[in-house]
């Protein structure tokens, strides 16, 4: 696997900010209907070469359908799918320069690991010596050389996953499609494999399109994430943007944990917004440039880990300070989640890192606590 020194490379890789960058995979107003059910709803999306792109959403949101349209297993009802400038309409799956890693791995049970990996190469009528060399290379890549002669049912889940990966990479596709590739692995193996996938993608310089319902997975591996719901894309952005600057309550709620407080915009000035959240949060001040007009309904969204919790009222009157009672404490080992009940009955969550051991914990049930956060910790959402 490649060395981990990829940070700077990845940070400078942002073709989506470059208007001149040529699109690699392009969905143009794509709609897909199955009978009355609209799986993909007038969707447009551009993915760039060498990008690791994640389609994220709950089951039934259309993400798999979208991927299957690239593979050729589904044709769009309306709209076009383009790959490297070529319209894919009518191109059967076996003629597309894409390969897919299936959720169930779909390894051929009657063939050895070797034969599985060689399968695609044989279809391309590659000379035998070259096939052998490539299979060898792929086996080395996924560290399965000793298992070459085994049959799939003789491998563990993690090994099968790597065979499936090797098989889909063997033909050096222009795009590798990964359909919930790590769904069947246990948590620890999944986390390891996520990093391996990223390294692999860097090393091979291919475009990866991954479908997943696991937001952590999408955040870990992807350059950009598209959050989908009901066949539409809710937001496309880098993992950090999606997390820090969600554009809607749906996205904010889907990615990680979030506190949402309903309110009304009362003022805007100098890149700041004031939100009247009534009894729940009082007046909240947020550093954010936005379009919304005064008087609009809005929601204040803040991540639990951005809220500080203290037993005493802040000495100096601070912006964004509300008080409540500790209702419940969720101990997760590394962090504890404090559920604080506000005067109006709503609950705010605050995550506190457990730097000290549990016995020394200061805040406990029914304590009166003060929640504070800086102006730039949360965002105001209008939809």
């Amino acid at each position: 696997m490649a060395a981990k020194a990829i940070g700077p490379v990845r940070r400078t890789f942002a073709p989506w900010d470059d208007p001149a960058a040529p699109p690699f995979i392009e969905f143009r107003n794509v709609t897909k209907r199955f009978g009355d059910f609209v799986a993909v709803d007038n969707l447009s999306l551009t993915i760039y070469e060498r990008e690791f792109f994640a389609l994220l959403g709950p089951s039934g949101c259309g993400k798999t359908t979208l991927m299957r349209m690239v593979a050729g297993f589904e044709e769009p009802t309306e709209g076009e799918v383009l790959l490297d400038g070529q319209d894919l309409a009518g191109v059967p799956p076996y003629r597309r320069p894409t390969n897919m890693m299936f959720q169930s791995y779909a390894l051929f049970p009657h063939m050895t690991i070797e034969a599985n990996i060689a399968f695609g190469l044989k279809q391309d009528r590659m000379p035998k010596a070259e096939i052998n060399a490539r299979v060898e290379e792929m086996l080395t890549l996924v560290k399965l050389t000793p298992f070459a002669k085994r049959k799939p049912h003789q491998l563990s889940g993690g090994q099968k996953q790597r065979v499936a990966l090797a098989r889909s990479l063997a033909r050096k596709p222009k795009v590798l499609l990964l359909d919930e590739p790590l769904g069947a692995l246990d948590k620890k193996l999944r986390e390891e494999t996520q990093f391996e996938l990223v390294d692999l993608q860097q090393e091979l310089g291919l475009t990866f399109l991954i479908v997943t319902h696991d937001q952590e997975e999408a955040m870990t591996v992807a350059d950009r994430v598209a959050i989908m719901d009901h066949g539409r894309i809710m937001q496309v952005a880098t993992p950090a943007e999606v997390y820090e600057q969600p554009n809607s309550r749906y996205v904010a709620d889907f990615i990680g944990d979030i506190n949402l407080i309903e309110g009304r915009i009362v003022d805007r000035a100098g890149g700041r917004v004031w939100l009247d959240c009534g009894e729940a949060g009082g007046m909240i001040e947020v550093e954010q440039a936005m379009e919304a007009a005064t008087g609009d309904d809005a929601w204040f969204a803040i991540r639990p880990e951005k809220i500080s919790l203290s037993l005493e009222a802040p000495a100096a009157p601070s912006v964004n300070c509300i008080t409540g009672e500790v209702w419940d404490i969720g101990y997760l080992g590394d962090v504890s989640i404090y559920h604080v009940r506000l005067p109006d009955g709503t609950t705010m969550k605050s995550t506190v890192t457990n730097r000290t051991r549990l016995v020394e914990r200061q805040i406990t049930w029914d304590d009166r606590v003060w929640l504070t956060w800086p102006r730039d910790a949360g965002v105001v959402l209008t939809r």
Partner: protein, 317 residues
């Protein structure tokens, strides 16, 4: 004894459990009473000689005579019937022709049955039970009647000839009944369900994602059939072929009703020896040899499966 098990537990494990013993014993008792004993009787008769008596062979095993009586009987045993099978070319011809008819008709049944089973397995899930039902439906009518009805279809003035004449495909009626063709038609028709059912079972559990994977890897559908679908359906193909080949080899009713005088099959020969010639010992010898001929391919298959090539039977994931 270094076991950590308590002695009490050990006792329970070793105590014979009557109910469990019974469950294991039932199939063995069944096979012993209804297969092994009848087979031994037939085997014994095959070593006997014909006699104009009741029963029509000698020696008759008289268990009342004690051990000495049994030994006496054994001394009279003869392999003459088996020698006779080799002397008269009729039997060898009948065996060979039976096997030939069985091989050809098994191939035909496979050829006709595979597309049907494939179509059933690919049909919408909702109608599959109904299709399965349609395959089994003919069993509701007597086998004999169904074969008889083919006489009405295949005879000179039969439905098939009338239909072909009406179509203008032929100008005078074809002779189909009482030929090998009629036998093949009868066999393919009668044994089709035995081929379709195991094939359907194998094809139905085939993961359609595997075909998507094949297509994704650049394999066109026709090639994917031979490289993925067919190899994975082999257990069904083998099971279906056995279920057809074995009974067809000994088939008696179909060649008797639809075949001509020159349709030679061992089942018919057997019948003639038993009931026309009343030569029970020779008929028994014919039956024993037939059994041996059929056992050979089964043993070969079993060995193959045990060598681990049966791994394709394992359901993927």
């Amino acid at each position: 004894m270094t076991t950590v098990d308590s002695p009490g537990r050990h006792d329970t494990a070793n105590r014979p459990n009557p109910a469990r013993w019974l469950v294991v014993a039932i199939p063995y008792v069944w096979l012993f009473l209804l297969f092994l004993i009848p087979f031994l009787i037939v085997l014994k008769i095959s070593f006997s000689l014909t006699a104009i008596a009741q029963p029509p062979y000698t020696p008759v095993l008289d268990l009342g005579g004690g051990i000495s009586g049994v030994i006496e009987a054994f001394k009279e045993f003869t392999v003459e019937n088996y020698l006779w099978l080799t002397e008269d070319a009729l039997y060898a011809k009948a065996y060979l022709s039976s096997i030939e008819i069985a091989v050809v008709s098994t191939a035909l049944v496979l050829l006709v049955g595979y597309p049907i089973a494939y179509g059933m397995a690919r049909a919408p899930k909702a109608i599959q039970p109904m299709l399965l039902m349609l395959i089994i439906l003919p069993f509701w009518t007597s086998f004999l009647i169904r074969v008889y009805s083919w006489i009405g279809i295949l005879k000179k003035e039969g439905l098939l000839n009338q239909f072909l004449l009406w179509l203008g495909v032929i100008s005078k009626p074809l002779t189909i009944l009482n030929t090998d063709t009629a036998v093949y038609i009868g066999i393919v028709y009668s044994y089709l369900p035995f081929m379709i059912l195991p094939l359907y079972a194998a094809l139905e559990r085939l993961d359609p994602t595997l075909l998507e994977a094949a297509a994704d890897l650049g394999c066109r559908p026709s090639r994917a059939f031979w490289r993925v679908t067919f190899p994975l359906s082999l257990p069904g193909v083998i099971a279906g072929c056995f279920l057809v080949f074995i009974p067809v080899t000994g088939e008696f009713v179909i060649p008797d009703l639809l075949g001509g005088s020159n349709t030679l099959m061992i089942g018919r020969t057997l019948w003639n020896e038993f009931f026309s010639n009343r030569d029970w010992p020779l008929a028994s010898a014919v039956a024993v040899v037939l059994l041996l001929i059929l056992v050979v391919p089964i043993v070969i298959f079993q060995n193959r499966a045990e060598r681990g090539e049966g791994a394709i039977n394992k359901v993927p994931m």
